[in-house]
């Protein structure tokens, strides 16, 4: 693991040098720590890993510190969560959060849960969409629901413990239809089943669909976000279509409990600056990430509300511990 860490540090340093040549506007804010470790449970190249690595390329413009991404894999995220939850709350260690960390806490017995960490900031909301194959029979969400009412729907989600599954289950309930919600081992697996017609629709994030979308193989049916997506203004929200289901796949950072207030304030300011940075904007706009920055108080409320909602939902489905 030591080698891996060293390798990552080197790569991060190289990226930092490469970016340093870019425009340096206002001086970055002073920070109590020299090195900040950002932990993720995802493997190099995975969702949260890419989020962190893209972010730290530009973060030095706003916070005066060296950022290191550390991939702590294993135990379905339990190891990464324990590592962060038991670290010192001094602003040197953070964890990349998404709804997954709440699900892991609720569904599995893990030594440290989301409750043992303090949300520091949320940055984005991913675009969660319902999609179908272009040459299939479904043109709109109404078609999908009508089919599920008449016969039986077949809806796909990438992973069992995921926001996508919750979105699908809630839509099924809101529409009062009969649909099999089939979970897969990742988005690629599900994509094949949407493309070959095994599934009526799939629920996923825009980033995972981009190549098929650009090739015109799949079509977006609706988005689960609260508003229409900037990149796809013609795609209605699920709510507009008459079903009161809105989900928000937040992305942000959490740290060990008891962070100094100035650290929290610096992160909030830095994130607001970062999402307005034109260079970074290009990166996240391409992935249809919706910037929604919340400071620690807002982020904590968001996570707590989400956890309460999910817990009630999982209990009902019999999946919570």
């Amino acid at each position: 693991m030591g080698k891996l860490k060293a390798a990552m540090r080197l790569a991060v340093a190289a990226a930092a040098v490469a970016c340093g040549i870019g425009i340096a506007k206002a001086a970055p804010e002073a920070y109590p720590q020299k090195v900040v470790t950002l932990v993720t449970h995802s493997s190099p190249g995975g969702g949260s890993d890419v989020f962190l690595r893209e972010m730290i390329k530009y973060l030095n413009r706003y916070i005066d510190a060296t950022f290191v991404v550390e991939n702590v894999q294993g135990g379905s995220g339990a190891r990464a969560m324990s590592k962060v939850a038991t670290a010192k709350p001094d602003g040197a260690t953070f964890y990349a959060i998404t709804p997954t960390y709440v699900f892991t806490s609720l569904m599995s017995k893990v030594p440290s849960t989301y409750k043992d960490m303090q949300p520091v900031v949320t940055v984005f909301s991913d675009a969660e969409v319902l999609f179908t194959r272009t040459d299939g029979p479904f043109k709109s969400l109404k078609d999908v629901i009508a089919h599920a009412k008449e016969k039986r729907g077949r809806w796909g989600v990438a992973n069992p413990a995921s926001l996508e599954r919750q979105a699908a289950e809630r839509l099924k309930k809101a529409a009062g239809v009969n649909a099999a919600i089939v979970s897969h081992e990742g988005g690629g697996d599900m994509m094949i089943n949407v493309l070959n017609g095994t599934l009526d629709v799939g629920v996923g994030e825009i980033q995972e669909l981009r190549s098929q979308l650009e090739a015109g193989k799949v079509r977006l049916v609706a988005t689960f976000n609260s508003k229409r997506l900037d990149g796809y203004p013609n795609v209605p929200t699920v709510k507009e279509e008459g079903f009161d289901v809105v989900v928000q796949k937040f992305r942000g950072l959490a740290g060990p409990k008891g962070q100094p207030p100035e650290v929290l304030a610096i992160w909030e300011r830095a994130m607001r600056g970062l999402i307005a940075d034109p260079d970074y904007k290009k990166v996240y706009a391409a992935e249809s990430l919706v910037p929604e920055v919340q400071g620690s108080a807002g982020a904590t409320k968001l996570v707590d509300d989400f956890a309460a909602e999910s817990e009630a939902f999982l209990k009902e489905a019999g999946a919570a511990k």
């Binding site: 080197l10 890419v50 069992p160």
Partner: protein, 498 residues
């Protein structure tokens, strides 16, 4: 002609050749270390590629993949430890050959077959991406479930004697594979509140414990220290041998292509399958398990073919056919390259570079293999106590790197003890390994199919691929049972006169 010229320009004008060779060497090293799978080897270099030119980065990653698939066979042959999942089938005859003092020959065959497999996979990738990608789309959950069952039907012929013991071993393997998070509902199963078990027991841990650790335990019981100094020269197959290897290699190439197209397999199924089929069609099936050259050639051709073939669904849909292809996908995305139908139009030069680089890596494989093999063989020719200590170190540190967890080391040591006892009571290892690999494929896809149909089994009949696989499975099974019965009768008639 134009394309050829472009390829040549790439070779001369870009650091493609060094990238391919560095990637290959790194891949062979990573692949040869047990526990460090091809995908981990690739993840380790991934951060270094961020600052590189996209094409060079992709060539580097693809070469690592090619190298790792080959490297996994080195410890499989020399120290009975598969370096990667897909080298498990090579252990059987490869290590047997080494014990007979034919290590150089076994390594030469594995190298030669690996090159053939890579070349075949590349030809498929370059020439048939379009039609083959359509096949990849035809696989539904029902087809996967049926494929898994077909895989399990070869247990009988891997059992090496007792069908009952083979089935018992496979069953235990399948039971081990259910530990962890339920693939469909997401709840914990059989983890006993132990978070380290949430990710399950990885097939590589089972393979390493059964093959390597149990062998170390067994060896520590034997007093003989003399190992017999073996030659450290690698022997590439001569013409007659090459001709003999064509059939098993062909079998390996075909099964490897099919598995590469299907996301989820990762090479080990193709390796087992080709081993089994090579045995079935061989003129010398009795040599299998006792150091058959064909038993090394088939799985080694298969796992190298998978490395190239799994790029087909990756490049054409952005859907990775193996864990390693998933890392490559990450590499493409980080460089802003979107795999999918439009990659070939928008980034034709990257694709061309990838083809050329893979070809360079494949050819370089021969040279690199010839250079490093003698070193490896010299290493395993050390006196047994040193060697055993070295293997323990290699195995345990390799497993530790998977999750950085001491708990995993406990699992592997315990598994070694189980393996030792299995050996003592005549239970075969291969069915257990097959159970661990195939159990999740059969289970999750069966449950997916049942979800899709609402519990109606006839959904399997609606899928022609599934029907085909199931019929083949029944045929295989009847054939093995018939042979079992025939041998039993033969044995009885032999005993009677005495």
């Amino acid at each position: 002609m134009d394309t050829l010229l472009k390829c040549l320009t790439l070779l001369v004008a870009t650091p493609l050749v060094p990238a391919a060779i560095i990637g290959l060497v790194w891949g062979i090293i990573g692949g040869a270390l047990p526990g460090i799978s091809a995908s981990v080897t690739m993840s380790l270099v991934l951060p270094f590629t961020y600052a590189m030119d996209p094409m060079v980065a992709i060539v580097l990653l693809a070469s690592v993949y090619i190298g790792a698939e080959y490297g996994g066979s080195i410890p499989a042959i020399l120290i009975r430890t598969p370096g990667t999942n897909s080298a498990a089938a090579t252990v059987v005859d490869g290590y047997e050959m080494k014990r007979q003092g034919r290590a150089g020959e076994a390594l030469g065959i594995s190298l030669w077959s690996g090159v053939i497999g890579s070349l075949f996979g590349l030809v498929m990738l370059i020439g048939l991406t379009e039609p083959l990608s359509r096949i990849a789309l035809a696989f539904k959950p029902m087809s996967y479930c049926a494929l898994g069952l077909l895989g399990l039907s070869i247990i009988a012929s891997l059992s090496g004697g007792s069908l009952l013991k083979g089935l018992a071993a496979a069953l235990v393997g399948m039971m081990v594979s259910t530990i962890g998070i339920d693939p469909i509902s997401g709840v914990d199963r059989f983890t006993f509140g132990q978070p380290d078990l949430l990710n399950g027991v990885k097939p590589i841990m089972v393979m390493v414990s059964l093959f390597a650790v149990s062998e170390l335990l067994r060896q520590s019981g034997s007093k003989s220290v003399a190992l017999g100094q073996q030659s450290v020269r690698i022997t590439l197959p001569n013409l007659a041998m090459m001709r003999r290897l064509i059939k098993p290699q062909f079998i390996g190439c075909i099964t490897g292509t099919v598995e590469g197209l299907m996301p989820g397999g990762g090479g080990s199924i193709a390796a087992f399958f080709s081993y089994n089929e090579a045995k079935r069609w061989s003129k010398h099936p009795e040599e299998f398990g006792k150091g058959s050259v064909e038993g090394v050639a088939a799985p080694e051709a298969a796992n190298n073919t998978v490395a190239s073939a799994s790029l087909i669904p990756l490049l054409s849909f952005g859907i990775p056919g193996s864990n390693s292809a998933a890392v490559l996908l990450g590499g493409l995305l980080i460089h802003g390259l979107l795999p999918g139908p439009r990659l070939f139009e928008q980034n034709a030069d990257v694709v061309l570079g990838l083809y050329t680089g893979s070809l360079v890596a494949t050819i370089a494989q021969i040279a690199v293999g010839i250079v490093i093999m003698p070193v490896c063989m010299w290493l395993v020719n050390r006196p047994r106590p040193y060697l055993a200590a070295f293997i323990y170190l290699l195995v345990l540190s390799g497993i530790y790197t998977i999750n950085g967890s001491l708990f995993d080391l406990g699992i592997v040591l315990f598994g070694g003890l189980v393996g030792f006892l299995m050996k003592a009571f005549g239970y075969p290892f291969l069915p257990a390994v097959l159970g661990v690999v195939l159990g999740p494929i059969v289970e999750s896809n069966y449950r997916r199919s049942m979800l899709l149909s609402g519990g109606d089994l006839s959904i399997f009949l609606d899928d022609p691929i599934a029907v085909g696989f199931l019929i083949t499975a029944v045929l295989f099974l009847s054939w093995s049972l018939w042979r079992e019965w025939r041998d039993a009768v033969a044995r009885r008639t032999e005993v009677k006169p005495a």
